[in-house]
Symmetry: none
Subunit: 215 residues, 2 copies
DNA sequence: AAAGAAATAAGCCGTTTGGCGTATTTTTAC
DNA sequence: GTAAAAATACGCCAAACGGCTTATTTCTTT
């Protein structure tokens, strides 16, 4: 029997999770907490627990802080984050805190179950979009982000695609080939990106793109 | 229809992969290669390809080198590594090379299919043990010191000055003004930098310069 | 159904870049 | 004191880029 604790402040989501896991006979939900502090209190009573499904956004004490504390005191307990938000900071901080997995709330019951099994087997479970973020973080070690509250420039999907190709050093012709566009269109996209970012050449654009967290 | 290319030197494993994927009607195996060089040759003929399943250990050109080259020229093509070895260096180097996923060869057909779908949707696919490795790498950012043992290219003092100006997005004329040079000289310096770094435009140069810890 | 945004594409024109050869002067190293 | 490396500079040419205008098509959103 796999002993699981749920930590989730939203009552309905907590019930939904219970429901999802109820189909799997080898999992027993030992207890539930509404925030990090409660979770820690529960563990202090009795820490015979295999795995914790932990929300991130919670009042009193959030999931990342709780993970940090629990992992320090009970490193053998696996912790899988379950959250709606997958922004870089959350992912990175959760990993830093020692999370063994990171799932999005939309994840299906079957996948959550798999994640639990795989995590207990020593692996890590991640929703694909999270996995992609970890890869990007690994490739580009820029975790030192200062809280920049200036509003960021937005680019369209296509513009970002073009931007990504530009950032590899490709020339317009090659970008056009790759995206099945004419060079005219690529040029137009670049022109629009330049206007939005107030850049006048590729390097300026890449700098501004970084500042705006577009790449 | 999802167009996939297999790159795998072992004939039987290649056939096994084909077999595994044949159950999924929306996947078509467009071509197969026995090593990296062959794969690149195929793409140069026709790069209308969605995803490549790439072995790592291969003669002539291994999968990591091939991934590096393909990702530079065709960044929109997704590449998922499929290998028996999951040692840290392989994982880290594959990520550095730009791989979008990393599966072990024991992975079941259904999982490979899921991985393909998820990768094309912009996510990343990883076997759980690989995911765990990436988490560990992220938590302990050691690899950036150790993984780079290649000797670095050296630039002259003046070349570095020019490089620094280039990195701000300045044009030759402005650099010349700032450094009290003629544009011809600036051009010559840039030409020399290009040769040393094997770059052919400014963005490539900046990438290579970063790799060589020049900026 | 209409309005608005996004994506597509072409043409024009001047500027900039990248690649090549050549050549002189200055600095550094042996 | 000479050889090698670095820095300086010019010219030529084709390719690529950046800026501007115009226009059609395809999505969204209301």
């Amino acid at each position: 029997m796999i002993k699981v604790i749920l930590v989730e402040d939203n009552f309905f989501l907590q019930k939904a999770l219970e429901e999802k896991l109820s189909n799997f006979s080898d999992i027993v939900i030992k207890d539930s907490a509404q925030n990090g502090e409660e979770a820690i209190a529960i563990l202090e009573e009795n820490h015979v627990v295999d795995l914790i499904l932990m929300d991130i956004e919670m009042p009193v004490m959030n999931g990342i802080k709780a993970t940090e504390i629990i992992k320090t005191k009970y490193p053998q307990i696996k912790i899988v984050m379950i959250t709606v938000f997958d922004n870089d900071d959350n992912v990175f901080n959760a990993i830093k805190a020692g999370a063994d997995g990171y799932l999005l709330k939309e994840t299906k019951a079957e996948k959550i179950y798999e994640a639990i099994i795989e995590t207990l087997a020593g692996g890590a479970a991640m929703s694909p979009s999270i996995a992609m973020k970890t890869l990007k973080l690994l490739k580009n070690p820029i975790p030192f982000e200062t809280a920049n509250e200036t509003e960021l420039v937005e680019l369209s999907t296509r513009e970002i695609e073009v931007l990504e190709h530009l950032s590899k050093g490709l020339k317009n012709k090659d970008i056009a080939d790759n995206l099945f566009l004419s060079t005219s269109t690529v040029k137009k996209h670049i022109e629009n990106i330049y206007r939005k970012l107030q850049a006048h050449n590729r390097i300026e654009m890449l700098q501004k793109a970084k500042q705006n967290k577009l790449i």
